[in-house]
């Protein structure tokens, strides 16, 4: 598989994702500049964490107007794999590719910690390598990671099994402990925790590796 890691001005987990793909699952990966016009030839798009455009205004809000975004939308609408992590998740919600919004943590502070997540839905392109309700340890590092959506959206998310990860302990005050959601079609995932920081035991956890492996499993199935 060939992945694109989108590099917005201010993205700062782009290389972390790049290495996760190159070394963690040994697939092809390229950094793609925010000014690029095309995602032709890629099988998956990864939107990294960081502070795109300084996260000034609202996190992710300005990135939405970068040239590459049209292509990301096309890519997502064609049912291809799009994964947004942290700032990437914020961008995907700002874009409307994912429901809800991410707002300032309940405790009004940035928080960096490794937290336990529950895999709520293990039947997605991103989680088929986990077992249902598996507890995994993944780092978080965000100031604006509190997932918010209105009640109607929440019942839709639940009805469609779009909630993929939940925090065991609600670290930031998210609605229903939500840490990651997909779109209806389940080809777009956004999550605040950083699986790319958890792909080697020496970094504290390798529980994130299965997420990337799941994408490969899924693609193999689709291709056959």
């Amino acid at each position: 598989m060939k992945f694109a890691v989108i590099n917005f001005p201010g993205s700062n987990c782009d290389m972390d994702l790049y290495y996760a793909v190159r070394d963690g699952i040994e697939q092809q990966v390229e950094l793609v500049d925010y000014r690029a016009q095309s995602l032709e030839g890629f099988d998956g798009v990864l939107i990294p964490g960081g502070f795109s455009y300084g996260d000034y205004l609202r996190s992710g809000a300005i990135a939405v107007h970068a040239p590459i975004v049209k292509e990301i939308i096309r890519f997502a609408n064609e049912g291809k794999i799009v994964l947004g992590i942290c700032n990437g998740f914020q961008i995907l919600t700002e874009l409307g590719l994912l429901p809800g919004a991410l707002i300032q943590n309940g405790q009004s502070r940035f928080i960096c910690e490794t937290v336990a997540l529950r895999v709520v839905n293990n039947e997605t392109a991103f989680t088929n390598g986990y077992s249902k309700n598996e507890i995994i340890n993944i780092p978080i590092a965000h100031g604006e990671g509190r997932y918010y959506c209105d009640d109607k959206t929440l019942s839709e998310l639940e009805a469609n099994n779009q909630i993929v990860f939940k925090y065991l302990e609600n670290v930031n005050g998210s609605v229903e402990h939500i840490a990651g959601v997909t779109n209806k079609q389940k080809n777009v995932l956004g999550m605040m925790p950083h699986p790319e920081r958890a792909i080697e035991k020496i970094l504290g956890s390798d529980d994130g590796l299965k997420l990337f492996q799941s994408i490969i499993n899924y693609q193999v199935k689709v291709n056959n």
């Binding site: 707002i103 509190r146 918010y148 209105d150």
Partner: protein, 82 residues
């Protein structure tokens, strides 16, 4: 020059964590008569003089950039800048 003042606030249904934090800070300073605090954003946009067609621009800028309709509402005022 035209000056547009834009106010963006959180929808009532969204918990305003910052507003809450500020309220408790105000109380701890001893001002107990403050019953509620909301925090929002305030923008000042200045438009070139020769441009008259800006109202629809302002709407678009607010809708597409300054406010996130999932969580926020906005209003604005237009005035002549000194």
């Amino acid at each position: 020059m035209k000056l547009v003042k834009v106010y963006v606030t959180l929808k009532d249904s969204v918990l305003d964590a910052q507003g809450e934090a500020i309220k408790s800070a105000i109380h701890s300073m001893g001002y107990n008569k403050v019953e509620n605090v909301g925090m929002g954003k305030y923008f000042e946009l200045r438009f070139a003089d020769d441009y008259s067609d800006f109202e629809k621009d302002v709407d678009a800028i607010c809708d597409d950039l300054l406010a996130n309709p999932n969580i926020e509402t906005y209003r604005y005022e237009i005035m002549e800048a000194e």
